[in-house]
């Protein structure tokens, strides 16, 4: 840049006096202060003087450290992001039909939503599952359900993401077992398990076991997959739910990377070498409405993680430095009022994810503040991605917003704030301690409450909600999950239990118990148990008996 920062700052002062100030005297600005959606201060104008960037050190080139501009050298010019709609409801048959529908409509990867009993390790016939079976996702009790879920879908040709955390090892084992039955070797499987227990304690709530054994299960998966399932993303370290619970953008990055640090430390403590498992770590972020802030957030997260992995953990393999991530548009930003407007919100958010260099993307459907999405609304959401991909031009060059004074300023600011959160969490002894002490939860709650107050005071405008409201009739044609699903699933489970070899199940569960009491890797005995058609709950109950259950201290 030919002009010096001082020269620009001096010229800006002159501009302000001669041009801006007289204009402001006649036309005052709409607000005394402007902020991003997350509350970062926004100035009237950004110039090179606001951007403290050393190009080669801080931005560099795509596919190279520090990856600010993207993890691949050519980004979407080579291959578009994976369009991956999260889907699942009712029985495995119904979800299998939705998967085939999405694949026929041009979706490139699968993403499984499991129902809450499955996510918490209960079978469909448990008393605690009452009313919940098949509601927010598909019910999986045994390998038989998983076989139905992927019937007719060749597992060597799709990549599958599974939103499963506390019992992630069990569902991954079932997936491997289905692949075996299809004749597909585990080495050829690609996909992701969420497997991120720390954000469950902090923000999402589907935990089972206490932190220590939970971290062991996670590092057992890292070790097993490094050898047996090398193309699998063994964890999706998730800021998504932290943001949905109310955090700011900078907190989303800071808390998520702090959790990432905790997983790396746990794996190192378990004796793994950083470059053995770090290339299989992946991330999951939210996309909200403040377009520039979101683009900056993704870029900041990439740069900060690369620096952490290289400088703090001394990783040497460039793949260990790369923050690869999935994005989902922000569910909490959708309104039940004038819900078709949500299509526009989702478009802004998805566009931010693409301009921010996401590897895969889920776009929410317009009706999700009302019910689970219908086939039609999911199609519009998928088409939104396709329009961005093929019509917007955003996929034609790498990191199109780089060099925007505003975006580079925000990128630096979010990185700085996120690093400050990480430093604070380090002082507390790391993410596990900070979550056990309730620090992360309190910070998120505080931000959520402030946001709600701003909406209620009208300081923050949500179109259709607190401005431009109108009388509406509630929309019809919302998806309903047939209440008969619960009975059907319970019958199915009873049939599987009746025809399996009970002695083999008992042997497998006993072997699992022994392994859990010792220090052996738990993946092989879990695989043996699922192959014998042990149920998810039977496996989790063995682990509950050995590990205990997590009991949070709730405070508001």
């Amino acid at each position: 840049m030919p002009e010096s920062r001082d020269a620009i700052a001096a010229a800006q002062e002159r501009w302000h006096k001669e041009v801006a100030a007289p204009s402001l005297a006649r036309f005052p600005e709409r607000q005394a202060e402007f902020t991003t959606n997350s509350g970062l201060s926004v100035q009237r104008l950004y110039t090179p003087a606001d951007v403290e960037v050393d190009y080669l050190r801080d931005l560099g080139f795509p596919g190279e450290y520090p990856y600010t501009r993207g993890v691949q050298p050519t980004m979407y010019r080579g291959r578009l992001w994976t369009m991956r709609q999260y889907a699942g409801y009712g029985t495995a048959e119904e979800t299998n039909a939705r998967f085939r529908y999405l694949l026929e409509n041009g979706q490139s990867g699968l993403s499984v939503a499991f129902d809450l009993p499955t996510q918490i390790g209960y079978d469909s016939d448990s008393a605690l599952a009452e009313g919940e079976v098949g509601k927010v996702g598909v019910a999986i009790d045994t390998l038989a359900d998983m076989e139905t879920l992927f019937a007719g879908i060749p597992l060597d040709r799709v990549s599958t993401s599974m939103t499963i955390n506390a019992p992630a090892a069990v569902l991954l084992a079932m997936y491997i077992a289905v692949a075996e039955k299809q004749g597909v070797s585990p080495a050829r499987l690609s996909g992701t398990i969420q497997n991120d227990i720390l954000k469950e304690y902090a923000a999402r709530g589907t935990y089972i076991f206490p932190p220590e054994p939970s971290m062991r299960l996670i590092t057992d998966i890292f070790a097993y997959c490094a050898r047996e399932v090398p193309r699998w993303n063994t964890i999706s370290i998730s800021g998504y739910h932290i943001r949905e619970a109310g955090s700011t953008a900078a907190q989303e990055v800071g808390f998520t990377l702090a959790n990432g640090i905790a997983y790396v430390q746990a794996a190192l403590a378990a004796g793994l070498k950083v470059d053995e498992f770090a290339p299989q770590l992946s991330f999951f972020f939210n996309a909200h409405n403040d377009f520039f802030e979101e683009v900056a957030k993704f870029r900041a997260a990439r740069r900060l993680w690369a620096r952490i992995m290289r400088e703090r953990f001394q990783a040497r393999d460039p793949r260990s430095w790369m923050l690869r991530f999935h994005t989902q548009t922000g569910g909490s930003t959708l309104t039940a009022q004038q819900p078709m407007n949500n299509i526009v919100r989702v478009t802004l958010q998805a566009f931010a994810a693409v301009c921010g260099g996401t590897q895969s993307l889920h776009t929410n459907s317009w009706d999700e503040a009302l019910a689970l999405p219908t086939e039609e609304s999911v199609r519009v959401a998928l088409r939104t991605q396709q329009i961005i991909a093929y019509e917007s031009g955003a996929a034609n060059t790498v990191d199109p917003l780089a060099g925007s004074y505003y975006v580079e300023h925000l990128t630096g600011e979010i990185e700085r704030q996120a690093a400050a959160y990480i430093a604070k969490i380090d002082e507390m002894g790391g993410a596990v301690k900070a979550i056990e002490r309730g620090y992360v939860q309190r910070e998120i709650q505080e931000a959520a409450y402030q946001y709600q107050r701003q909406v209620e005071s009208g300081e923050r405008i949500i179109v259709g909600l607190n401005k431009f409201q109108m009388e509406e009739v509630p929309p019809e044609n919302l998806l309903t999950v047939d209440p008969a699903v619960q009975e059907a699933q319970r019958r199915r489970l009873a049939e599987v239990k009746a025809r399996r070899d009970q002695a083999a199940v008992d042997r497998a569960l006993a072997a699992l118990r022994t392994a859990a009491q010792g220090t052996a890797n738990l993946m092989p005995p879990i695989l043996d148990a699922v192959r014998a058609y042990a149920t998810l709950q039977e496996i989790c109950d063995v682990l509950r008996a050995v590990f205990g259950e997590y009991r949070p201290t709730e405070e508001v």
Binding site: K135, G205, Y449
Partner: protein, 131 residues
Amino acid sequence: MRRIRVLVAKPGLDGHDRGAKVIARAFRDAGFEVIYTGLRQTPDQIAEAALQEDVDVVALSILSGAHNTLLPRTVEALRARGLHDVLVVAGGIIPARDIPGLKAAGIAEVFTPGTPTQAAIDFINQRLRPA
């Protein structure tokens, strides 16, 4: 007059507690005494807590879609403990078509997404402290 005591409860298995925590704090700022149950409470656990804490209001937050099963059961569990006067309200992603059935089952009001916290506060005040 004693302060209005509210139990904010999460029936069912969903972990979405942003709404529950925001409303709990708004109730507290409005002068109510608030007890929050935490996640994954069964109808019986909620009713037992309401009895032990001697509350005037039970505010149920649910986003799992299990409301048609769990909310009426919670009302039954409260009534089974003799808590006939406790006001029961609910909030969450609850489709409009389900609301009449829930009201018939004893849920006094259902607050859907986008409701200002003040609307819930006003409703409780009007029902418990009529002018």
